[in-house]
């Protein structure tokens, strides 16, 4: 494929994370040992990025609010942890066990995604939010009250230890896989169908979009990746406790998505990394009763950003001072409308006018010889 301007832009995030993985991987193989807190931070960041990117699929692109993302993660963490500890005596704790754990975690979470996705098809936005919230609480409660032999009950499930020096690399690779799947999906006809549903469900149906299929697809994929994040979590923490996966955690993931800009994958990645870093650093600054200031900060971020981005009264201000408008001055290139590349958005170059006369003078026969208007398709 040609290396156009747009294509390069599409691969920047792979390149950045891929390069990071490669450099750190080589350093690790060369015998360099990162200290434990760095390793743990990188594991946490990859978990957060996977969670934020997958939630962004539902919240940013499908336009539905899910408040149970931590619930899907919980399912993935418990089931994979259980499978890994069952396999450990016979298979050891190598990459193969990790792979099986990943498949189990993703599969179980995806199954829950289907179960929750089915009401999603019938319910309006705010009801759906409540259903996902309820799902998260149900999952939490079920694992909390499980017997000690099955899932460890209220004490939590102990999971096998994995070689800490390598785990973060698997985390990075899983981030890359998540990006690959989510971005390729969104940059295809299927992604277009999902955003069409977000923009106008009735019109999407009327133009032949199978809304059921695409809603379920988005939900299930999103849940599956939350499950994968759960698997990483269980490997990273040695113990899985259902209390950790409550409503508050789901909100934290939502904050990452909102802070990154809804439907902006790179934004979600950056804000997930940033918030994870703050989560490890703030408790050292804000000790004791001050710790709650962190929640206050997230609450304020959520409110301010959403109002700023959505208030109808601020539209003029936003159009004037957004990222694109500010950087346009730097680029300062006048674009000839006839040569604009597809999908390179230009809001203000072409003068718009209403004129039906133009249509009348246009030749209806397609200029491209391969295209016909004949029903049943092009030859």
């Amino acid at each position: 494929m040609k290396l156009g301007k747009i294509k390069v832009k599409h691969y920047v995030n792979y390149a950045a994370i891929g390069a990071l993985t490669l450099v750190m991987g080589i350093m690790t193989l060369a015998g360099n040992k990162f200290d434990n807190s760095t390793l743990f931070l990188m594991e946490k960041m990859s978990i957060s990025i996977i969670l934020a990117v997958s939630l962004s699929l539902v919240v940013g692109f499908l336009g539905e609010l899910s408040l149970g993302h931590a619930g899907f993660m919980c399912v993935g963490a418990y089931l994979s942890g259980k499978v890994a500890s069952l396999l450990e005596p016979t298979m050891g704790n190598g990459p193969l066990t990790l792979l099986i754990a990943l498949l189990v975690g993703a599969g179980a979470a995806a199954a829950c995604g289907i179960v929750i996705g089915i009401p999603a098809l019938r319910l309006r936005g705010d009801y759906l939010a409540i259903v996902t919230l309820a799902f998260g609480e149900i999952v939490k409660s079920l694992f909390q009250n499980s017997s000690d032999e099955t899932f460890g009950g209220s004490l939590g499930l102990s999971t096998p230890r994995y070689d800490k020096n390598y785990l973060f690399l698997y985390g990075f690779i899983l981030v890359l896989i998540t990006l690959f799947v989510v971005q390729n999906l969104m940059r295809s006809k299927h992604g277009r169908a999902i955003t069409a549903i977000r923009d106008n469900e009735i019109a999407a149906r009327a133009t032949g979009t199978n809304v059921t299929k695409y809603k379920l697809l988005a939900f299930t994929l999103s849940a599956a990746f939350a499950g994968i994040a759960g698997v990483l979590y269980s490997y990273s923490n040695y113990t899985v406790q259902s209390m950790k996966f409550g409503y508050n955690y789901s909100i934290e993931i939502l904050v990452m998505v909102v802070l990154g800009g809804m439907g902006n994958i790179n934004g979600a990645i950056i804000s997930a990394a940033l918030i994870t870093y703050l989560n490890t650093q703030l408790p050292t600054i804000l000790t004791g009763d001050l710790a709650v200031l962190q929640n206050l900060l997230y609450a304020i971020i959520l409110i301010v950003i959403v109002i700023y981005n959505n208030a109808p009264a601020l539209k003029g201000f936003r159009d004037k001072y957004n990222f694109k408008a500010l950087t346009r001055k730097l680029r300062k290139k006048e674009v000839d409308p006839a040569h604009v590349k597809d999908d390179e958005a230009k809001w203000d170059v072409v003068p718009t006018k209403i004129d039906m006369d133009e249509i009348l003078s246009v030749d209806m026969t397609p200029q491209d010889p391969n295209i016909t208007w004949k029903r049943g398709g092009d030859k």
Binding site: N184, L185, G208, D343, K346, W347, W373, G377
Partner: protein, 256 residues
């Protein structure tokens, strides 16, 4: 090939006792431009919603090209060959103009490409995307929207939004196109042009068109046949000139 492209038989729907449409029989021949008129609240848009399966009829049924269509979902009916525009424009506002059209195109069988093929970026994905883009551009060219193809749909002026909605409907490859008040908000000059455009679309795309309109000049100029509705029932039907002169119709419009 059936004699009529669209045939409704005793079509009706009631919302909790209120009969919004009742015993509606419409027969439309291939390549006709057919008008559906009537005072406000007569049930015109309800008929459109029945024909696109947004509502399920409580009585009667309808056939497209001889095939019974009752009970399908709106997306299936679209793929069977009925496309529509909406009275209050419904575009995908936060998507570019060309993508709006591509959403219409992508459910055609010739642009089939599974989720797996797209995820793994197999050759078919690129082939289909390229073909769809070319076809979308051709459609936009006809409607003089090619220059605007990378604008967000919500940033288009009103008239262009209407045209884009028609282009998107045509992209789904319909046999029957339903236009809900296409001339609403247009001045007489624009309305006249729209009439020419609709004829042109009919000829160029080999279509049958059913439209709702309030502008009587527009209807009598354009439509071969009409059905006049009032309170959900058929008041008069047939050749446009004759039906419009029906005393019942005049009474319904002028009152009395």
């Amino acid at each position: 090939m059936a004699e009529y492209i669209l045939e409704t038989k005793g079509l009706g729907i009631s919302f909790g006792g209120l009969k919004a449409a009742q015993d509606v029989d419409i027969k439309i021949r291939k390549r006709q431009i057919y008008g559906l008129i009537g005072p406000n609240g007569a049930g015109k848009t309800t008929i459109f919603n029945l024909l696109t399966c947004v509502y399920k009829p409580t009585a009667g049924t309808f056939y497209l090209d001889g095939e019974e269509m009752k009970g399908l979902t709106p997306d299936k009916i679209n793929r069977k060959g009925i496309a529509r525009t909406f009275q209050n424009i419904r575009l995908f506002n936060n998507m570019t103009v060309i993508r709006n059209v591509m959403v219409g195109l992508q459910h055609r069988p010739e642009f089939k490409c599974s989720v797996i093929e797209s995820l793994l970026r197999l050759p078919r994905h690129f082939k289909v995307e390229k073909a769809m883009r070319a076809k979308a551009k051709e459609l936009l060219r006809i409607f003089d929207l090619e220059q605007d193809r990378n604008d967000l749909a919500c940033n288009l002026p009103y008239g262009k939004q209407r045209k884009l909605e028609i282009a998107r409907a045509l992209a789904t490859d319909p046999k029957l196109l339903l236009l809900d008040e296409p001339a609403a908000g247009m001045n007489p000059h624009e309305t006249e042009d729209l009439a020419h455009t609709i004829r042109k679309i009919r000829d160029g795309f080999d279509l049958t068109i059913l439209l709702i309109e309030h502008d009587m000049g527009f209807v009598s100029d354009l439509c071969d046949e009409i059905t006049v509705l009032n309170f959900g029932t058929v008041l008069a039907q047939g050749d446009t000139k004759t039906a419009l002169q029906d005393p019942e119709v005049i009474k319904a419009y002028i009152g009395g």
